[in-house]
């Protein structure tokens, strides 16, 4: 009995101590950016630079643009949304969730990406992909989920343009976002995939993958748009502005993003 009481007391004390020692959820004050997965490496670098230049911190969350749209509609506390597809921004604007209709920040491109010593050649015209489908070299092919990942939708369009969609559909593995698709594409469980050019250029992918650009005319343009969510703090606004500075643009261009001429 006393053993039990003692254990309960010790346990409660430990839990209380432990809880008080933890950082509380004051995190609300830091502005939070929800960014499309293709921006993963580029925006991390821009945010580092932003912090050095201005002293302002930023919380970064990466995922698929479609999911972010749903989450913001449900009231997720994101202050700035960088979508890979302008339509998601427009939908949020129409729902009255954003300050305005936002601004285009980049034009994206897609590439076919394969592991360096894989069965598939990185061929932007997707000719080898077609051949691999016929001769059985292709078991699995990765794209982002076209339902909510813009790069996945463009990947689907490129496959349709090449006339491969019907034959490849049964072999597709769908990434929840384009970063996951890239990971599938070169993890060895798939022979390759269609992913964002900006990810292919990231240092952590460079040694693990070969890639080639898919013609721009094969898919709808990837007009990427960002917007401030209503109630965004000044620091989020500052980052929004910072993205048009030469320092930020240099980084974006280095990661393959073409700058829009608006």
């Amino acid at each position: 009995m006393s053993l039990l009481r003692r254990q309960l007391a010790v346990w409660t004390a430990a839990a209380t101590l432990f809880l008080s020692a933890l950082p509380s959820s004051h995190a609300q004050a830091v502005p939070t950016l929800a960014a499309a997965s293709d921006l993963k490496f580029a925006i991390e670098e821009v945010a580092d630079r932003f912090e050095k230049d201005t002293g302002n911190k930023l919380r970064l969350v990466f995922g698929s643009s479609g999911n972010f749209k749903t989450q913001i509609l449900q009231g997720a506390p994101f202050h700035l949304f960088m979508s890979a597809d302008e339509n998601f921004v427009y939908e949020l604007a129409d729902a009255g969730k954003t300050e305005d209709r936002g601004r285009t920040y980049a034009i994206g491109r897609i590439v076919i990406m394969v592991p360096p010593d894989g069965a598939l050649k990185p061929d932007g015209q997707l000719k080898d992909l077609a051949a691999a489908l016929k001769d059985g070299r292709l078991k699995k092919f990765a794209i982002g989920n076209p339902e909510h990942a813009p790069y996945g939708a463009r990947g689907k369009e490129a496959l349709q343009h090449a006339g491969l969609w019907e034959s490849i559909e049964g072999k597709l593995v769908l990434g929840e976002n384009i970063s996951q698709a890239a990971q599938f594409a070169i993890s060895g469980s798939a022979e390759g995939g269609i992913v964002a050019y900006s990810l292919a250029l990231a240092p952590s992918f460079a040694s693990r993958a070969k890639f080639e650009l898919i013609p721009e005319s094969w898919h709808k343009r990837l007009v990427q748009r960002m917007v401030l969510v209503k109630g965004a703090p000044p620091e989020a606004r500052a980052f929004y502005q910072y993205l048009s500075t030469p320092a930020a643009q240099e980084i974006m261009v280095r990661y393959s993003f073409a700058m829009p001429k608006e």
Binding site: M1, F18, Q28, F41, R59, L60, V61, P77, Q180
Partner: protein, 221 residues
């Protein structure tokens, strides 16, 4: 190693347990003794989070607690707090998700106590509360302890529900499981390995320790 995510997960696990333990103890004990009509339905409801895909549960929670839902909107207007995409949202989801992990072992533990003991305690003049503290709980303690460990460890690994109602916000809702997922996606396999290994060792250690403690307690009584 994403320490922030690890601490968040530990905090979530601890608070989940603190919230769930009193009500779970009561519910488990009640289920062990009651002969109420429709008991099977209540038991089924308790087990439901165990068999339901976490994303399905997460989806329902998101829809029912989100700012667009009547409940979510009411709570936000009345108390000024949001029920999703923050720690509170994770906690609510986590408590619901862990009900079977706590209640089931507790129920089994109380079921294993011979009924005559309770009657003997009553004859000896102990109140129901005294019987609970002095007779039942010490006997059920090994089961209660493993229920607590299961709940704690299970919360650390929770993924689907957290992903749906959390939004992966660093320091707020980005738990260790989500962080591992993120690291894999950005090809930081070293980071993913470290965290996965830590989680594996911790889970194994905690479960082994609870078995050891249960065996010791069983011997002692």
């Amino acid at each position: 190693m994403d320490w922030q995510a690890l601490f968040l997960s530990l905090k979530l696990a601890a608070v989940t347990l603190l919230v769930l333990l009193p009500s779970g103890l009561w519910l488990g004990r009640w289920l062990a003794y009651t002969r109420v009509a429709g008991k099977s339905w209540i038991e089924a409801l308790v087990v439901l989070p165990l068999v339901l895909p976490p994303t399905v549960l997460g989806y329902y929670l998101l829809v029912s607690m989100g700012g667009a839902s009547p409940i979510g909107a009411w709570v936000q207007q009345t108390f000024g707090v949001r029920l999703t995409f923050n720690f509170l949202g994770l906690l609510i989801a986590s408590v619901i998700f862990n009900i079977p992990f706590l209640v089931q072992p507790v129920q089994r533990a109380f079921e294993a106590i011979p009924r005559q003991l309770g009657e003997a305690a009553a004859v000896s003049g102990l109140s129901a509360w005294q019987t609970f503290w002095r007779v039942e709980l010490p006997l059920a303690w090994p089961g209660v302890l493993s229920a607590c460990v299961l709940t704690f460890v299970h919360t650390l690994g929770e993924f689907g529900v957290v992903l749906m109602v959390g939004g992966s916000i660093p320091g707020e809702t980005k738990t260790i499981a989500i962080s591992i997922y993120d690291r894999v996606q950005s090809f930081d396999l070293t980071g993913a390995n470290q965290m996965a290994l830590l989680l594996l060792l911790f889970s194994l250690g905690a479960v082994a320790a609870s078995f050891f403690a249960s065996a010791r307690l069983a011997v002692r009584r």
